[in-house]
Symmetry: C2
């Protein structure tokens, strides 16, 4: 979708192929995978490369392997849902309304709080980074430029919080925004319509007004939620 991402190494290909199959539901929790030798042969890679991929999928909580029993897909409870890959695989096919709703809820929780924290703790350098991102948004001439600058804006804001745990949640924000660009009712026409929202957030952070930043950010998220077209037609 957004990332063409020609995966270089073999085991990375295996990670993404199996990861996609699991997260998409082709392989369901409880399902057993073929034994390594077979699976490796079937995917045209060596058992070595396959195993390296399996270890990574285990680390992401998607599978679990035991001797004799083999590898099984784990219950979704155990998945690292915040993992960037897992989120990406989940959005690889058209995401469900249900999931979009959950992404928006995460934004509603994280971003206003992050905006407030940013207004409190930002350094001049960090502020400059947001300003640069905002300038790029204002200067954008097409949707691609806008998207990139928009993501940079939100990431820069998270960095302003000086809390790397919040920064790590950018993978969620990124996924939410990317999904929004696909589902939004108006991006194509006037993709810059949310620029004033961003301006208010930027100004509040610049002036060190936490509560103003929180409110402005909350409004931006609510507004973007209302701009997601609810596609009642479920068919592909």
């Amino acid at each position: 979708m957004v990332k063409p991402m020609v995966v270089r190494s073999l085991h990375n290909q295996v990670i993404h192929e199996l990861g996609r199959q699991i997260v998409s539901g082709e392989l369901k929790p409880g399902d057993g995978l073929p034994r390594e030798e077979l699976l490796a042969e079937r995917m045209n890679v060596s058992r070595t490369a396959l195993r390296e991929a399996m270890k990574v999928l285990s680390a992401k909580g998607l599978i679990q392997s035991r001797q004799k029993t083999g590898a099984h897909v784990r219950e979704t409870i155990y998945w690292n849902q915040l993992d960037a890959d897992v989120l990406a695989w989940r959005c690889a096919s058209m995401p469900t309304d249900d999931f979009v709703e959950k992404l928006v809820e995460m934004r509603e929780i994280i971003e206003p709080a992050a905006g407030a924290a940013a207004a409190r703790r930002r350094t001049p350098e960090q502020l400059a980074r947001i300003e640069a991102a905002y300038a790029a948004m204002a200067a954008a001439t097409d949707l691609e430029e806008w998207t990139e600058a928009d993501l940079a804006f939100h990431e820069a804001m998270l960095h302003c919080t000086n809390n790397e745990l919040l920064v790590s949640l950018f993978s969620v924000i990124e996924t939410a925004l990317a999904t929004y660009f696909v589902l939004s009712a108006r991006t194509a026409a006037d993709f810059k319509y949310s620029l004033p929202h961003h301006k208010k957030v930027l100004d509040a952070i610049c002036r060190r007004q936490p509560e103003v930043a929180r409110q402005a950010m909350a409004k931006m998220v609510v507004d973007s939620r209302s701009n997601i077209r609810r596609h009642a037609k479920k068919k592909a």
Copy 2:
């Protein structure tokens, strides 16, 4: 500390040993690791096992390997800070005040919002799980029982939100609470003192009062923050 965790497989041992070294700062961002053959020999494992571990560490964003150049520790920006292992490694040695503050901030952002969402969307079964956890807290006779029940309470509340992205943040809450139990000024004496706070949250969720739940949860976090003893003495 809390988890004795006798790591079974060899590559898991390698993952934890290298992960700990990196997160603790023994190996700094930019540092190059010895080449695989050497490192494997030095850790008394085969290159196979070592590589499986390296792939997992790569997936966690801690290292990056390229041909000829070898593996290097990545900048902390790229670390999956929300990964349960990374959080655990970070708290393996005594966590810094700075980091404790960041954990508390995460709780302040997540838990009140989660409490509100739980009050809105909980099912009877989910409520029963919180009630069970609360009962276990009330019945606890020692710190260990209390700790276990307390974690179960907070996890059950996250499940009530019906948002698996929020549930995945339990690794952060868990780390924060575990750290709190170590640093709290009063756990040893009267470890049950926060029971009333939990009762208020439980009641609000039971009665489907989102804002009440939010406030009660916010108070609990603020209260626990004030109960962390600030150990000015930095020496071990």
